[in-house]
Structure formats: structure tokens, C-alpha cells
């Protein structure tokens, strides 16, 4: 982690810089276009959307779709909007992210600083677990949750996300801790510090950047998950994505696209917030080791 966090020293001329800025701006447009479509149409009355011209700005601006998506849109029998489902998602996401991050950190710590015969194989096993398609595990997982008495509960859902998130969080922390000077750990051991003391006093204080990466990754994946959320939740614990899906996918009714888009942006706000707040640390975190294997 001795790298300096400044941009490259490669020098570029004025002409080149013009080209670079143009390119960067063009790509900004590419990334922003879908968001533009969503935002613009979420601020139009439905009649304008139905009349066509979904790329154009609203003739008549309105925030009614946003209000509707938040508190009055039809999700199920009751027109509750997305409001009540936010809490369900948060109750599930926060523990799942917290636990998988801590477990990932501990695993990474063991796999790099307390190595033993076959640890690389174990890491490989954990890593390969990232690739299992979720559709495949649905039925056996349901059975296991039922046997454990966790069917339809929030802890059950948290557990499922934990199981399938552990591979990536271990990957991030392992690659990060690998750069961490082992001498420090060894010195602490000779001083008589125990396993957890070293972790708490030496590893944790410098784990901030990678924790951000891990949290962003896990938060995004768990918050946006639909399949597990729909299958393993109960009527009173359905997460946000299921509600959003119910809002958007209604089968035979009129599709209120403006409300759909407002709801979609709303559902993404927590993740967007995490990106904006933690974004600065994100690259720093990645830089500090996770990509340096």
C-alpha cells in the first residue's frame, strides 16, 4: 500500500486533452441516458407518455407520480405505495451486509496471516461458490430453511444472502490483506497478542477502504435481489424489490409508466446514496489492494 494516490505523470498536450474531455463527456451521456429517460418520464402525466415522445421533456411538469409511488400506488390489495417496504428491505440488508463483511474480513485475515496447509484450495472452493446460479438453489434452500424453522423469516433471508455473499467478501478482504505487511502481525504474535487482538488492533484499523468496497458490493447485490426476496419472505417481510416488481409487472391493468419510473428511482436511492457517499473511498479501497491480488 505504498502507492501514491495521484493521477498519472504521463503528460498530454492541449489537443489531446480536448479529445479526452470530449470522450469523457460522450461517455457521461451514454451512462446518463437511461436515467434521463426515467427521470423525464417520471415527471410527466401519463397521458403525455401514452401520446409518445418519451425522449422529450415534459410539457407539464408534475411530481404526482413520485407521491403516488411513495404512498398511494397499488402494490397489493391495499394501495400503500412503496413506503412500508423500505423498512423491510433495510431490516434485511443491514445485518446481511454487516455480518458478511465481518465474516469476509475474518476469513481474509485467516487466509493470509494464519495460513495452513490447503488454505488456497479452501479459498478456491469459496470463490467458485460465487458462480452458482441462484435459480438452481431455490428449492433445496427452501427445504433447508423449512427444516431450520427459518422459512418466511427475516433471519432466514439474511442467512441466504450471507451464504451467497461470503465468496466475494472473502475475495475482497483476502486480496487486500495479502498486501498488508506480515511482519507487523508476526511482531505482535511474539509480543503475545492473540488471534482476535491482532485482528482488532492491527488489521481492522486499516481495513476501512476495503470495507467500503465490500459494503458497496454486498449492499448493491442484496438490495437489488428479487428472487430470494420473493421466495423466502413472508407477507409481512416482502422487500422493496418485490413491491417494485408488483408495481411494475401488474398483468392486466393500465401501466402507469411515470409511477413505475418514479418508483424505480426511489428504490435505487439508498444504493445511489451509498455510491455517492462512499464513492470517494471506493476507488481508494479498490486501489489499496483488492485489485492487486
Amino acid at each position: 500500500m505504498s502507492s501514491n494516490a495521484t493521477a498519472t505523470v504521463v503528460r498530454t498536450g492541449a489537443g489531446t486533452r480536448f479529445v479526452i474531455y470530449t470522450l469523457l463527456t460522450l461517455f457521461c451521456l451514454y451512462y446518463l441516458l437511461p436515467l434521463y429517460v426515467m427521470v423525464v418520464n417520471s415527471l410527466k402525466p401519463l397521458s403525455e407518455i401514452q401520446a409518445g415522445g418519451m425522449m422529450s421533456l415534459p410539457d407539464q411538469w408534475t411530481v404526482a407520480p413520485w407521491k403516488s409511488a411513495w404512498s398511494t400506488a397499488q402494490i397489493g390489495v391495499e394501495a400503500t405505495g412503496l413506503k412500508p417496504f423500505f423498512w423491510n428491505s433495510i431490516v434485511m440488508v443491514v445485518p446481511a451486509v454487516a455480518i458478511s463483511t465481518v465474516l469476509g474480513a475474518l476469513n481474509g485475515y485467516v487466509l493470509t496471516k494464519w495460513r495452513f496447509r490447503g488454505d488456497t484450495v479452501l479459498f478456491g472452493l469459496l470463490l467458485f461458490g460465487c458462480f452458482i446460479p441462484f435459480q438452481m438453489v431455490l428449492i433445496p434452500m427452501a427445504r433447508m430453511l423449512g427444516l431450520a424453522g427459518l422459512a418466511g423469516t427475516v433471519p432466514g433471508l439474511v442467512f441466504v444472502h450471507l451464504v451467497y455473499g461470503i465468496g466475494f467478501s472473502t475475495l475482497y478482504f483476502r486480496n487486500y490483506y495479502q498486501q498488508f505487511p506480515t511482519e507487523l502481525v508476526r511482531a505482535a504474535m511474539i509480543d503475545g497478542a492473540g488471534f482476535f487482538t491482532i485482528f482488532r488492533r492491527i488489521m481492522l484499523p486499516s481495513s476501512g477502504p476495503i470495507a467500503v468496497v465490500c459494503v458497496i458490493w454486498q449492499f448493491t447485490n442484496i438490495w437489488n435481489d428479487f428472487l430470494f426476496g420473493a421466495s423466502f419472505s413472508d407477507f409481512d417481510s416482502q422487500p422493496m424489490t418485490v413491491a417494485l416488481n408488483n408495481l411494475v409487472q401488474s398483468s392486466t391493468g393500465v401501466k402507469e409508466y411515470n409511477v413505475h419510473f418514479a418508483g424505480a428511482i426511489m428504490a435505487a436511492l439508498p444504493t445511489l446514496l451509498v455510491y455517492i457517499v462512499a464513492g470517494r473511498y471506493f476507488v481508494r479501497g479498490l486501489m489499496a489492494g483488492s485489485v492487486k491480488g
Binding site: M54, M141, A268
Partner: protein, 299 residues
């Protein structure tokens, strides 16, 4: 060698020795049961006549022989090859390019970076609709460009069976390339500037600097990017459902949609399990040597 440190102390030696393994064991147990156990379970199911729910009557290779007679499976596999390779290559190329551009002391770098990154935050349940509209020739890009006066402008890939899979690539690249960019950017920032300065003094051109010195040093970043992208490509499901629903016809079917459809929509769980098994074996054939070689080199 394998043991990093082994201080000799009496007393609670056993606990000291075992503690790291104890800490690791819950994760390992979870993965063994819920990943590898389920893989074995699926493998078993692929030889049974399971339909709506798992059944335990063995039928031999029947599911596999049926699977290979289903045309949509061929399409799905071919599509994954096209989609997966294009997606990974384009994401890496684009991510690297953007990272290099963004590494040139750009003003408002943080702002631009956030713009490139945000698509990862959105779920495809609805972004899919925005993309679908945008790609639809009747109302999206084609219609807009034509309304600007370029009457012959045509962009109707999403309606064209041969081209539709490429629209999936466009949307998928949109979602993840920013993330890949961040990984490469981080890698670039980790490169020792002294080496670059020295090479510059020797008169190396910018192109040569990047080709000879910078990019080779980004190898670990490629590894992480590859793992993340390959995992995304294999699991791409929401994206296809939201954008094309597998159509036109079955033109954009992917193994993930195929597997879901046979297991859950068509109540042919046996065939679904067979397709999952084949998919997993293919993933293993590609990933295991790769992971192995990457992990081995560092010893």
C-alpha cells in the same frame, strides 16, 4: 512455508493453533452444504423424472438426451458464448480506456466517476424498461434521430433476431463497465510513477508507456475484473427478461433464462437440473484452471 508464524508458547497452544480454522469453519460449512451440497443435489435431480417438485425416481440419461434435442438450448449456449465474450472484452476495453482517460488529472473526476458507476446501483426490473424504450425503433433512438432529419437512420437491433443479443450486450456493458473502470483506475493509481518518469526521459511515447509498462502491471486488476464479469455474464437473467423476454422468438435466450424456464415455468425440473449441471461443468472447466493458475503464481 505454509505457516506464516509459529510462536512457541505453552498453555493454550491447542486453541491457538485451532482458532483460525475454527473462525474459518462456519463459512466453509455454509459453502460446502449450500453450494456444493446443492450442486450434488441438482446433479442427482438431473437423472430423475422431477417435474413440479423434486422426485426421486431415476430415469437415467433421458433428461440429457431431451435437453440436446431442444433447439432453444443450442441457442442459449451459443448466445452465452457470444454475449459472455463480447461482454467481458468490451467491459474490460471500455473500463480500461475510461480509467486511462480519467487518470489524466481530469477536473471533476469524482463527479464523472460517480456517473460512470451509478448504473450498478439500479435494478434491471425497471432500467430494463428504459432501455427497451430507448432501443425500440418506433419510439427510441431511431425515432428521435429520424425526427432530427436523418430519415434513413436505422437502429432496430432489438427487433432483429440476429442482432438482438447485441442489444443485451449494450445494456449489460452499460451496467458494469463503470465498475470495471473503477477497478482499473485503482490499479493505475497503484503504479509507481518513478518508473514512468524514467521511461519518459528515455523518450518513450505515451502509447509505448501504456503498452509496455502500465498495462502489464494491471494484471491483478484483470483477474478481479474477469471474475466479477464472468459471474455477471453467467447469471444474466433480469437483464434478458426485462429487455427482450428471450425474444424475438428465442433469439436472446441464455442458459440462465433457459434453466429458470424449464425448472419453474414449464414444470420440467429434471431438464432444468440437467441444463444447470451442464452449465456448472462449463463454468468449472473455464474458471477452475483460471483461479488455480492465478492463486498458484503468488506463492
Amino acid at each position: 512455508m505454509t505457516q506464516v508464524a509459529k510462536p512457541r508458547r505453552g498453555g493454550s497452544d491447542w486453541l491457538r493453533e485451532a482458532l483460525p480454522k475454527i473462525v474459518l469453519s462456519p463459512s466453509l460449512a455454509m459453502v460446502l452444504i449450500f453450494v456444493y451440497g446443492f450442486i450434488i443435489f441438482t446433479f442427482y435431480l438431473s437423472f430423475t423424472d422431477s417435474r413440479i417438485l423434486p422426485s426421486y425416481d431415476l430415469v437415467g440419461w433421458e433428461n440429457y438426451s431431451k435437453l440436446f434435442r431442444i433447439r432453444a438450448w443450442d441457442t442459449a449456449v451459443t448466445n452465452l458464448l457470444i454475449f459472455g465474450s463480447l461482454y467481458i472484452v468490451i467491459c474490460c476495453a471500455l473500463g480500461l480506456t475510461l480509467a486511462i482517460l480519467l487518470d489524466q488529472k481530469i477536473r471533476a473526476e469524482g463527479f464523472i466517476r460517480t456517473i460512470y458507476l451509478y448504473p450498478m446501483a439500479l435494478s434491471f426490473i425497471v432500467t430494463g424498461t428504459a432501455w427497451k424504450w430507448f432501443l425500440d425503433p418506433g419510439i427510441g433512438l431511431q425515432a428521435v434521430v429520424r425526427s432530427w432529419g436523418w430519415e434513413s437512420f436505422t437502429f432496430d437491433w432489438i427487433k432483429d433476431g440476429d442482432m438482438a443479443i447485441y442489444t443485451i450486450v449494450i445494456a449489460a456493458v452499460w451496467q458494469t463497465s463503470g465498475f470495471v473502470m473503477a477497478m482499473f483506475l485503482a490499479g493505475l493509481r497503484g503504479i509507481d510513477n518513478e518508473v514512468l518518469k524514467a521511461a519518459q526521459i528515455d523518450g518513450a511515447s505515451n502509447m509505448a508507456l501504456y503498452r509496455r509498462i502500465v498495462i502489464p502491471q494491471l494484471r491483478p486488476a484483470f483477474m478481479s475484473a474477469f471474475v466479477v464479469l464472468a459471474h455477471m455474464a453467467i447469471k444474466s437473467y433480469d437483464l434478458v427478461i426485462a429487455l427482450t423476454g428471450g425474444g424475438p422468438g428465442t433469439a436472446t435466450e441464455l442458459p440462465a433464462t433457459f434453466m429458470y424456464s424449464y425448472t419453474f415455468t414449464r414444470n420440467q425440473m429434471g431438464i432444468g437440473a440437467a441444463s444447470a449441471t451442464i452449465m456448472l461443468m462449463a463454468i468449472a472447466a473455464i474458471m477452475v484452471p483460471y483461479i488455480y493458475s492465478e492463486l498458484r503464481e503468488k506463492k
